[in-house]
Symmetry: C2
Subunit: 452 residues, 2 copies
């Protein structure tokens, strides 16, 4: 969890302006309730859906949010804040409520994935952490869902720990990718923390620390007779494959089976076919082929589409940083203050006012047909309400679902989305409209600003 | 620091194969010394130099590396490891040495930025964390250096906390960007931890929580008469500017000065000229203009080149995720085991064997002229040795430099790099060659593999 890592300094993980605005609100006595709405304005490139992820960390954060003595001392040292505001911060806890689209569910642009209501300063302060986590985890879960779709049922393991953008991102990629259908992770800490199956093979360094590649293979097979995957490309993939066949034959004599061989460079399509043929001819058709190295959803789609005989994929760097879409424009915007719905009109960044609900409508076959964004309290136009209350009075309203439950929720939602929205390139926009009631509210607030 | 955040489970932040290979080495009694070399094989797009960053976290990690009871219990529960190997892990500490190019220095592709020597298992285990941190921080420091270069002396503040890829990346962006010449950060925790000046303005939510934009401006100015920056674009930038002029005039009557106004959307070139003219005509030529929102080095170069009257920049999302180059191919490769130099020959991923040193040669004007990668122990071909011993016997050899010292080191190095290598698009490759001695070693090891 991200919230535990900065302990009593957690309150400081925020942008300075959250605190200076807090000081100004405090000085003015503006402590009325506010509602903020978190949403993505525009799809990152080639995205046609988004996967909700990161809520769990946000709830942990809100439950832990506080300013310890060192944090207050630092703030005091800046000379920016008054003594009575620092005293207020010393006693600050999050006392508000959160409504959110649960993790694992699909959502679309302009839809609030989360809304926070509470005293102005508390709700404002949380902006930086909330965007930081939900933006990242949503991007990673969405990227992973694209990979799973492209792999068409072949298991994928998360190999991204080393090239993810920092330790937190590495942990969140393991979790977000498992949530969206990956089978395992190489990241042992993530496997432990989140209960994800750990997976691994061997590195080139293992091979090159032996004088002979075949000896390295044999030693590994002797150490792990039930879980050996041999890496073929340290010197030459096809020569490596010949040695792996001999080791696999030795293993058979001992009553063991080589699990797989791993390709990590070169032309995966051609090499996988050659290696498959070699193993099949040797009567080793149970030995699987794993490919890793530079893979993303686009490569997976090409390899799977070409019929390359690859059984397992290890996906790392490009997925772990969501390389083709490393950021979104996710924003956390004030939509209501002291009972008054608000909005901004900035060029290209306008948004609708007021607390909201998202209604998901299905067709007769149980597939998603369209979403309607309405005001929070309006009568449903039909369909399911997506935002659920998950925190009230600063505490969770229910125990968190397990990661496997979230994974199953994703799996169900994903199956109900028509496949044209899953296209890896230029998918159409899923139909999302504002309800008449939200349209009226928007027009009214916009008019009141214009006549101000 | 990243190393403190996972406490006694820190050892688990590694890829599973590091531990399974460790088990195989342990079973074989292969505990001889190994040397691993960390380097980037190919420049990310449009990069002509790299900025060393992340060493401090790696040294913290190596000094803290251990497996606590919960970590060992988890490993035991996987059923993969033997009891005596787990006992070995229980006592494991990093006892080796580290040579590195200090933080803040420039380096180039194929040059080892860090080399770790120590007992095989210890040195191998550290791979995941070492790449994770130095890859990220080098990418971010390099991205920041490009922004600083493009801004041509105008101060830049790091606004990336909310859209960086996780909390760790946000902290590392604040540090890496300050190291490379940014002036401040909006991230309060990073400001506290790293001693970076904190900076901030106000958000749209502050404006929209008041019925009147001008009242919001006035309240903020009253709260912070000495440090007010007004955000103009909540409804309409030029109308916001008119109100800001009135508030600045009110401030003047109280003996205060408005520091700056902030543009956050729209056409920055045109808006900054209009706003500048309006403030100058009002006798407010001391009020600065800050621009933020979607900026990166390419935008900065365009705005500065066009002569837009922008005095300060806030740079966030695109820099904070190194959006045009969110990953590198940084690798940590075994180059020596038990006194025997090793290499791999994988297609497109070959590298040179043996522990190395990098020599930096200067021209008569004190500018960098070229680098030579040699073997660790060879006589200098001239120039400075870039890799310094920073850890021996598992402990730092000297106290760490301060962040301001590192920042000054970057500044000096950057001034010595010819500006053609700083071009934001398609810079030429800086001249880096292997020494004759390294060439001979490479040929010899390659031959020995081919005849194996």
């Amino acid at each position: 969890m991200s919230s535990g890592i900065y302990g009593q300094d957690l309150g400081l993980f925020t942008d300075l302006y959250e605190l200076t605005m807090g000081q100004a609100f405090f000085s003015q006595g503006m402590l009325a309730p506010a509602t903020f709405s978190l949403f993505i304005r525009a799809y990152p490139p080639n995205r046609g859906y988004l996967v909700s992820a990161g809520l769990e960390d946000v709830l942990d954060y809100l439950e832990a949010l506080s300013f310890g003595p060192a944090a207050l001392e630092y703030l005091d040292s800046t000379g920016i804040f008054t003594g009575d505001f620092l005293q207020y911060l010393a006693g600050l806890r999050f006392t508000g409520s959160v409504r959110a689209i649960p993790e694992g569910r699909l959502f679309f642009t302009d839809e609030p994935v989360l809304e926070v209501s509470g005293p102005m300063i508390e709700a404002q302060l949380a902006e930086t952490f909330i965007i930081n986590q939900i933006n990242l985890q949503t991007l990673l879960a969405t990227k992973a869902a694209r990979c799973v779709w492209a792999a068409q049922g072949r298991p994928i393991s998360d190999f991204s720990a080393r090239r993810a953008q920092g330790t937190d991102a590495a942990m969140k990629m393991a979790r977000s990718s498992y949530l969206a259908g990956f089978q395992s992770t190489s990241n042992v800490l993530a496997a432990q923390r989140y209960g994800i199956p750990p997976a691994g093979t061997m590195a080139h360094s293992f091979i090159s620390s032996f004088i002979s590649e075949e000896e390295a293979f044999q030693v590994y097979a002797d150490t792990f007779p039930g879980r050996t995957i041999l890496l073929l490309d340290t010197y030459d993939t096809m020569e490596g494959a010949e040695k792996a066949v001999r080791v696999a034959k030795n293993m058979e004599k001992q009553g063991h089976r080589l699990v797989a061989v791993r390709l990590d460079s070169g032309d995966f399509d051609s090499l996988s076919r050659q290696v498959r043929r070699m193993f099949d001819l040797a009567g080793l058709d149970h030995v699987k082929i794993l490919a890793s190295g530079g893979l993303d959803e686009f490569e997976l789609e090409t390899l799977v589409g070409a019929g390359a005989p690859i059984d397992l994929f290890g996906v790392g760097t490009k997925a772990g940083v969501s390389a083709d879409a490393p950021w979104s424009d996710m924003a956390y915007k004030l939509v209501c203050y002291d009972g008054r719905p608000v909005m901004k009109l900035s060029e290209g960044k306008a948004y609708r006012p007021g607390a909201k609900q998202v209604f998901r409508l299905m067709d007769t076959g149980g597939m998603f047909s369209r979403d309607v964004i309405g005001t929070e309290d309006e009568e449903p136009v039909g369909g399911t309400r997506l935002l659920e209350e998950v925190m009230a009075g600063g505490s969770r309203t229910a125990p968190s679902p397990s990661l496997d439950e979230i994974r199953e929720r994703f799996n169900q939602d994903f199956g109900r989305l028509d496949q044209r929205f899953k296209s890896l390139t230029n998918p159409p926009h899923y139909p999302v409209a504002a309800s008449p009631s939200l349209e009226r509210l928007t027009a009214k607030v916009q008019q009141s600003i214009n006549v101000e």
